[in-house]
Symmetry: C2
Subunit: 380 residues, 2 copies
C-alpha cells in the first residue's frame, strides 16, 4: 500500500489507532455476549454526546439513510415541511422529504449565508409546519446554522413543529444540546466528528418525536428504516439482551464504541472548545494568506471544516494534486453553483483533539507551499 496521506476532508476524517484496531475485531456474532454491550453502551454514550434523554439509533447505512428515517417515520403524506436551505444538503434533504409525500417549502439563503431568524419566524407564521429541517453544518459550504436560535423561534411561534437537525457534519464538533434547546431529531453518521469509519447512520430522537411517531395515522412507507422495527432492537441492546431485525455492522459498531468512549472521556465541552480553537487557527491562517472563506462571516462558519475560494489564477486542478503530493487529501467544491471555485478542508476529531499529531499544522503548511507552487503571490 502507498504511504498514507492525511485525510483532511470534511469526512471521512483521520481515525485513532484504537478505532482502527476495533474495525479489525475478529468475526463476532451480532448477538454474542461480547458484542451486545458495545452497541448497548454506544447508545448510552450518544445520549451524553447529544445531551438528550431521547432515543439514539445506530443502524448500518450512510448518513443519508437518516434522512429517510426522519422522513418516513415522522412525516405523513401531505404534511408541510420547512427546509432551511443553506446549500447542497438542504436541497437533498428536501428531495428526500418529498419522496415520502411531504410538501416542502425551501427557505433559501444566498451561498455563504446562514438562515436568518426573522425569515424563519415569518415562514412559521405563514403556515403550520409538521417539521422544520436545518442543516447544522452544510458540508458543501462550511456554513454553520444557528440551530439554538432557530429552535427557540420554533418553540415560540409554532411549538408543535418538530425541529430536525442534519448534524452529519456537526455532531462531535459543534455544540448541540438536544433537550435544552428543544431539538427533536439529530441525524449524523459515523465518519465525521464522531471519529469512526463510514458505514453507520447515527441518530438522536427526542422523546417528544418518538411520541409523535407512535401516534402517526398512516403506516410507515419503508421497511428497513421503520422505527417500529428498530425501537425494540435498540431497547434490547441497551438492556443488554440479544435481539434481531437486520444484522448490525458489528466491526463498525465496535469502532464507533471506541471513539464514543474517547469523546466522552475527554469531555464533550472540551471537544467543542478544541474544535473552535483549531477552526480559528485555520481560518486566521487562510485569511492571512489572503484567501476568502465561502461563509460570509466567521459568526456562521463551521468549526469542523473550512470552505475556501481559490485565489485568482489558481484552479482546483492545480491545487488539490499539489496538496496530495505534500501528503494532504483535501476536497473540491460540492455546491453546484460554485463547485470549481473553492476547496474544502476538514479539521475534526483526532486531528484537532490531539494537536500533538500535527495534522492541522501539516495541512496549513502544505496549503501555503502548494499555493506558492501554483504561483499564488500571496503565499510567497
Amino acid at each position: 500500500m502507498a504511504a498514507h496521506k492525511l485525510c483532511m476532508i470534511p469526512g471521512p476524517i483521520e481515525f485513532h489507532e484504537d478505532v482502527l484496531q476495533a474495525m479489525a475485531t475478529p468475526a463476532t456474532s451480532h448477538v454474542a455476549p461480547n458484542f451486545i454491550p458495545a452497541l448497548g453502551e454506544s447508545i448510552e454514550l450518544l445520549r451524553q454526546i447529544l445531551f438528550t434523554s431521547g432515543q439514539p439509533f445506530i443502524i448500518a447505512g450512510s448518513g443519508t439513510l437518516g434522512w429517510d428515517m426522519t422522513a418516513c417515520n415522522l412525516i405523513e403524506a401531505g404534511e408541510d415541511v420547512l427546509v432551511c436551505n443553506s446549500g447542497y444538503f438542504g436541497d437533498r434533504f428536501g428531495e428526500c422529504m418529498e419522496t415520502y409525500g411531504a410538501k416542502v417549502t425551501h427557505l433559501r439563503v444566498p451561498i455563504g449565508e446562514s438562515p436568518q431568524l426573522a425569515a424563519v419566524a415569518a415562514a412559521l407564521k405563514s403556515k403550520k409546519y409538521k417539521a422544520i429541517t436545518i442543516t447544522h453544518v452544510d458540508t458543501s459550504t462550511g456554513v454553520l446554522s444557528d440551530i439554538k436560535g432557530i429552535a427557540d423561534i420554533v418553540r415560540k411561534e409554532s411549538p408543535e413543529t418538530l425541529v430536525v437537525v442534519d448534524g452529519v457534519c456537526s455532531v462531535g464538533s459543534e455544540e448541540i444540546r438536544m433537550d435544552a434547546w428543544g431539538i427533536d431529531v439529530v441525524v449524523t453518521a459515523s465518519q465525521k466528528a464522531l471519529g469512526a469509519p463510514p458505514g453507520l447512520c447515527v441518530m438522536g430522537v427526542s422523546t417528544r418525536a418518538i411520541e409523535v411517531f407512535k401516534t402517526r395515522k398512516t403506516p410507515v412507507a419503508n421497511y428497513y428504516a421503520n422505527w417500529n422495527r428498530w425501537l425494540p432492537i435498540m431497547n434490547a441492546y441497551e438492556a443488554r439482551k440479544p435481539s434481531y431485525f437486520a444484522t448490525p455492522a458489528v466491526q463498525n459498531v465496535y469502532a464507533l464504541h471506541v471513539s464514543l468512549k474517547q469523546i466522552v472521556a475527554q469531555g464533550v465541552e472540551k471537544r467543542f472548545a478544541l474544535h473552535k480553537e483549531a477552526s480559528l487557527k485555520a481560518k486566521k491562517f487562510i485569511h492571512d494568506l489572503g484567501l476568502k472563506l465561502v461563509p460570509t462571516s466567521l459568526e456562521h462558519a463551521a468549526n469542523g471544516m473550512s470552505a475556501v475560494y481559490y485565489p485568482e489564477g489558481v484552479a482546483a486542478t492545480d491545487l488539490l494534486p499539489k496538496l496530495a503530493a505534500h501528503g494532504i487529501v483535501a476536497a473540491g467544491g460540492l455546491h453546484v453553483e460554485i463547485a470549481p471555485k473553492y476547496f474544502r478542508i476538514g479539521h475534526m476529531g483526532i486531528s484537532v483533539t490531539e494537536p500533538e499529531r500535527g495534522h492541522l499544522d501539516a495541512t496549513l503548511n502544505a496549503l501555503k507551499i502548494s499555493l506558492a507552487e501554483c504561483g499564488y503571490k500571496g503565499a510567497l
Copy 2:
C-alpha cells in the same frame, strides 16, 4: 479482549486475516484514487461470482436493505408478488414487499420442506405476477430452494415475471448462475459466504430487471434505496471515476474487495464444490450422532449451514453455552414455530475453503463433546 471463539453461525462467518487487515485501512476519502478501484473492481468481481452481465450494487447497509431496494425499485403499488415461503425470511420479505404496495401471495411450505415446482407452476397459472421471490437458503431453517428449477418454470409459465432470489445466506456457498438460469435479482450481504464483515448490502440485478425499473410508471417511494441515485454511482466507480450520492463504507468495501478477489482466485466452481463437501461431512457427522436436520431431505438442505434439532432431553440453554465453553459459537433457532427446538451451525467461507484451519472439525468435535456433557447418550 477474551480469546476469540470461532464464529460458526450462519453469518457473520470467520474472516481471512487479509480481510480483517483491510477493515483497518487508515482514513481514506471515498473519492480518493486509491479507493475508487476497490469499489470499481468489486463490482466487476461480483459479475463473475454471480455469472451475470447485469448490474451489481454495493451499498452501506444490512442485507435487509436489499429487500427494500428490490421492492421499491421493481414493484409498483398494486402489483402482485408471489413469495415462495420456506420460513422466517419469506415472511419478512413478503412484509417488505407489502410496505411498498405489493399484493403478496405466499406459497407456504411446511417447515423443513422446499417449495414444490408443481405448486409454483400452478400459482403462476392462476394469476399474473410481477415478481416471484425465493429464499435461496432460508437461514432460519437451512432449507435450500431449487432456484434453477423455479426460474425454469417461471420462464415457461410466465416469462415476464421477475425472478428475485434472496441469496443472503447462499451467495458464495451455493451455485447461482444468474444469466444462464434467468434470475433477475439476487440480494445478499457481505457477512455470509462472501466472507467480509457485516455492513454492506450487495445485489446483482439483471439487464432485463434494470429495463423494467427504467420503464416504471410511478416514482420510487424511497430516497436512500433509489436506483436512480445509485446507478450513476456504480457506473462511475466501475469507470474508475469519482462520484457521490452517499458516503460508501470505505473500510468495509476494502474488506469485501479482498474477499471477492480471494473467491475468484480460488475459483467459484471450486468454492461450490468445497462447500458441498464440507456440508456432506457435517451432515453425515450429525446423522451419525443420531441427530435430525430441520430440512426433511439432504436434497434441499443448504451447503453453507446446518439446522439441527436438539435430541430428546437436550435444550438450547444446555448445548449452546457448552459449545461456547469449547470455543465454538453456534446459533439458536429462529423460526418462530420451532425456535427452542433446534440450533444452527454455519460452514461457509474460509472455514471450509481452507480446511487446514480445522474450523469444521473443531466445531463437530465440540458438538459431540458438548452433547455428551448434556447427557446425550448418542454422543457417548
